[in-house]
Amino acid sequence: MKISVSLTVNGKPVAAEVEARTLLVQFLRENLQLTGTHVGCDTAQCGACTILVDGKAVKSCNMLAVQAQGAKLTTIEGLAANGELHPMQEAFKRHHGLQCGFCTPGMVMTAIGLSAQNKNPTEAQIREALDGNFCRCTGYHNIVKAVKSGIEEMA
């Protein structure tokens, strides 16, 4: 059964008919070709699919597309404006907070989500906030530095 859904993605209105069981991440990747949001697991653990839903970091594999009715979504593709990286993207680059790049969009989104809740997080708080995002490449050392620096830059 198809259900109508309308929402805002990266500032643009989107309307579509989707299967009721379509996951939000599938909708982004398959219907909207926003392939920057990744799928790394099937148990909502890895966080590679994290996006912003009304400003909050949400795992888009753990939400149905129809649940996003009326929501404002931001994906990794929607962060840079006019060719300028978002301060969090810039911080990840500056601190070598990414290697293979697969977990990166989810990490950046989680970090931006954290920034809305805590303007001056300690290292321990950052590590705690990244609990739902796996990185297999960096050992998190540089990600933690990047998140701290990115949040400072956003202030």
């Binding site: 299967e19 069981r21 990747r29 070709q33 926003l34 392939t35 920057g36 949001t37 990744h38 799928v39 790394g40 697991c41 099937d42 148990t43 653990q45 890895c46 590679a48 994906t75 990794i76 593709e77 962060l79 840079a80 990286l85 993207q89 990840f92 680059k93 500056r94 070598h96 990414l98 290697q99 293979c100 790049g101 697969f102 977990c103 990166t104 969009p105 950046v108 290292e123 321990a124 950052i126 590590r127 705690e128 990244l130 609990d131 995002n133 796996f134 990185c135 297999r136 490449c137 960096t138 050992g139 998190y140 050392h141 540089n142 990600i143 933690v144």
Partner: protein, 800 residues
């Protein structure tokens, strides 16, 4: 670094240059980051081809079973289904997946190589063994149809642990190996070792398991295979570390396709760690089926599928003994290991616990006699193959756990016992077949002790004790053999492939450069590092250099990335190609300046003539090569585009010391890493930022092995108990400390960049360092990895 023929040969390590002036040694931000940070990266699952269809694999729920029948009729009629294939549909001309390394046993016979069918035939041999492929218009349809396939299994007894598999009367995984033994192999002088033990003043003995790990690159394996009717060719997108090897094995050994009609593209790859070296069944079946179906077929593993179908790592059971004289000099080492192969031989499975393991047992020490016997064992589990470090973490674990235990038993300080046995003259030939070209083990040990503030440890331990906590310090002074490999040596040891690397340097008329490399980057930052090497040599801006990898239609035949080889072998090939570019450039410049080419020098992007002010820029020479109006056409071809293949003359030997400091809560056994220090000698360093990142990541995986990760199969049923992220403990941000890392430099003597490789060091050194620290803190001889709170708590209680 501009002259590649003159290198430092000092055996004393230096600290890396503090402030480099050119691109070599600079902490340049990565070129590849922009696309990854903006969602513009293109991983295999991001590729959607016209008329795309989707694959789903039906997999065995049993660890071992006879397939009595498979009925696909109902499923074939399901909505959207295009085709269903089982092992019975695969033509007899299609071969099994090959193993790339032949190990000859101590009995002189070749290892057992049972067929590894691309879809199970007759029997399934591990949970997750692929049984049938369903192709449909959508993934949901393929998955739904797979559930309608009726399989009648006759379950058979299964064996998943090497100790069980070697017992008399154990179920046989393959009829060809009734005792489950793939080979028994040995290295070293057994008589000399026995003589050494006979005169020992002290013998340290350890028995332990090196725990099985699941690699878990965050991008699951994926492929997208398309057949092109117009020219009878195939294109395969695949998440893979070595596209040419993938193509060669698939076409020549399995499908019998013309190699030149298959294009393999490994686009952005989301981590590999070894698990994406191999030729797997899934992409092979999809390539074959793409012609039958007539539409491109995409398959992407679920994480649950990855757990049961990716090649795993480690899984050794070992008894190790070290003989010492009264002064703590190592006299001999004896090691006996049983290594799991899993249900089938994966691409390089056989060489991991042999060639990449036993040869490293000398470590950094002068132990004169070493003998190692390895029994490779089939089990009803996913195959086991290289995982970051591949044999060398296991070897380091043997050596450094023995050394640490011996030091404790003989009451000699950890650093002191190591120093009494360090190799200090180079080149040094070990009793286990390697010749170390250079190193300075004292420098890394001293550097690590300083950075870890070892002198302050007693005070920190006392302070922890006041809080009721136990602190421990653990060392691991590791060595690895990287830069795989001299092809002739590898061939003599059983390799069925060459191990060179290829690079093409294409200078464009405007002086911009594209490098085509056989190496493959899946996180290592080659686009940046290789650009730095090229920019430094040609004297052009780093931004004028692009690096292309991962496409068999664009790059020369290359062996890909594994074994920390990319810069030392792949980078060397690029340097050799640039040597040809510069040599030709000198001739062109000489013609333009009307001098002899022997008088032309090239430096900082300029061709100059000794003793004159004549000069031509690199850009002028490039333009002339492509607009050859004033050009020695009678002597020289136009164009400036050179390819080189580089085959190393030796392995490289990165080495270092890692020091781990842990704090254990004796009430709960909870273990926290409070300090982790790594001081490594990777030879010359091109981009320290990238090198540090590689060490961080390797250490995290090593800590993961020591504290958290362990693949567990149920010993009765053969079911995988750690089959998801809710069961398999991946290291998370809060599990890990900040790392203190530094380097010392002794330049590799036999490759043009003087580099050794840095990708695996962390995973090699860290497990032993962590476990030595825990044993030190708790005061026990051994704790099994992963050292969960429960195991540490039990170890504390075991002391009574």
């Amino acid at each position: 670094m501009t002259d590649t023929t003159v290198r430092e040969k000092s055996t004393t390590a230096k600290s890396p240059a503090a402030a480099p002036t050119g691109p070599m040694g600079a902490r340049l931000q990565r070129k590849e980051d922009m696309r990854f940070l903006t969602g513009a990266g293109q991983y295999t699952d991001d590729v959607k081809l016209a008329n795309q269809s989707y694959a789903y694999f039906l997999r065995s729920p049993h660890a071992h079973a006879r397939i009595k029948s498979i009925r696909t009729e109902k499923a074939a009629g399901a909505s959207g289904v295009l085709a269903i294939y089982t092992g019975n549909d695969i033509p007899a001309t299609v071969g099994g997946l090959p193993c790339g390394w032949l190990i000859t046993g101590t009995d002189g016979k070749p290892m057992k190589e049972p067929k590894h069918p691309i879809l199970a035939q007759g029997k399934v041999r591990h949970v997750g063994d692929q049984l049938a492929l369903v192709v449909a218009d959508s993934l949901d349809q393929a998955r739904a149809a797979a559930e309608m396939i009726e399989v009648d299994y006759e379950p058979l007894p299964a064996v998943v642990d090497v100790r069980d598999a070697l017992k008399k009367g154990a179920p046989a995984v393959h009829d060809e190996a009734p005792d489950n033994v793939c080979y028994v192999w040995a290295l070293g002088d057994k008589a000399a070792v026995d003589a050494g033990f006979a005169k020992a003043a002290h013998v340290t003995t350890l028995e332990f398991v090196n725990n099985r790990l699941i690699p878990n690159a965050i991008e699951p394996r994926a492929c997208n295979a398309a057949y092109n009717r117009a020219d009878d060719s195939y294109t395969l997108y695949v998440s893979n570390q070595n596209p040419h090897v993938e193509r060669l094995l698939m076409t020549a050994f399995v499908l019998g396709l013309p190699e030149h009609r298959v294009r393999v593209i490994a686009p952005d790859v989301g981590g590999g760690f070894g698990s994406k070296i191999y030729l797997y069944a899934e992409e092979t079946v999809c390539v074959w089926a793409s012609k039958q179906v007539g539409r491109p077929i995409k398959w992407t593993a679920d994480r649950s599928e990855a757990f049961v179908s990716d090649a795993h790592g480690r899984d050794h059971v070992t008894k190790a003994e070290l003989a010492l004289d009264k002064d703590g000099k190592f006299i001999a080492m004896r090691v006996k290991t049983s290594a799991a192969m899993g249900a089938y031989l994966s691409t390089f499975a056989s060489c991991i616990p042999t060639i990449l393991y036993a040869t490293l047992l000398a470590g950094q020490y002068t132990t004169p006699a070493i003998h190692c016997e390895v029994t490779a064992v089939f089990t009803n589990t996913a195959p086991v193959d290289a995982y970051r470090g591949a044999g060398r973490p296991e070897a380091t674990y043997v050596v450094e756990r023995l050394v640490a235990t011996a030091a404790t038993e003989m009451k000699i300080a950890q650093d002191e016992l190591r120093r009494r046995n360090f190799i200090r003259t180079f080149p040094y030939s070990t009793p286990v077949a390697l010749t170390y070209d250079i190193g300075d083990y004292d420098a890394c040990l001293n550097g690590a002790m300083e950075l870890a503030d070892v002198p302050g440890f007693p005070q920190r331990k006392a302070e922890a004790a006041r809080r009721g906590k136990l602190r421990g310090l653990g060392y691991a002074s590791y060595i690895e053999a990287c830069g795989l490999a001299p092809s002739n040596i590898a061939g003599a040891l059983g390799a069925r492939a060459g191990l060179f690397e290829a690079g093409e340097v294409r200078v464009h008329p405007t002086g911009k450069v594209t490098v085509f490399t056989g190496s493959h980057s899946h996180g290592q930052g080659h686009e940046t590092t290789f650009s730095q090497v090229v920019a430094a040599r040609l004297g052009i801006p780093v931004d004028d250099v692009d690096v292309v990898h991962g496409d068999t239609d664009r790059i020369p035949f290359g062996m890909g990335t594994y074994g920390s080889r990319s810069l030392s072998v792949g980078g060397a090939a690029i340097v050799k190609a640039m040597d040809k570019i510069v040599a030709k450039g000198r001739k062109i410049a000489a013609h333009l300046m009307e001098v002899s080419d022997v008088d032309v020098e090239f430096q900082d992007g300029k061709f100059t003539v000794k003793g004159t002010d004549k000069s031509k820029t690199f850009g002028e020479v490039a333009l002339t090569a492509y607009v050859p109006h004033n050009y020695p056409l009678d002597k020289l071809e136009p164009g400036l585009d050179e390819t080189a293949f580089y085959d190393p003359t030796n392995f490289t030997y990165p080495a270092g010391t890692h020091i781990c400091e842990v704090e254990v809560d004796p009430q709960t056994g909870e273990t926290r890493i409070v300090n982790f220090t790594a001081v490594d000698d990777f030879g010359n360093i091109v981009n320290p930022m990238i090198v540090e990142g590689q060490v961080h990541g390797g250490v995290a995986q090593g800590i993961g092995q020591a504290l958290l990760e362990g693949c567990v199969y149920d010993r009765e049923s053969g079911q995988l108990l750690t089959g998801s992220y809710m069961d398999y403990a991946m290291p998370r941000a809060a599990d890990l400390p900040n790392f203190k890392v530094d380097t010392r430099v002794t330049a590799c003597t036999h490759n043009p960049l003087g580099v050794k490789g840095c990708g695996e060091a962390g995973a090699i050194g860290a497990p032993a360092a962590v476990m030595n620290a825990i044993c030190d803190a708790v005061g026990v001889k051994d704790v099994e990895m992963p050292a969960t709170s429960e195991r540490v708590w039990r170890a504390i209680r075991s002391k009574g």
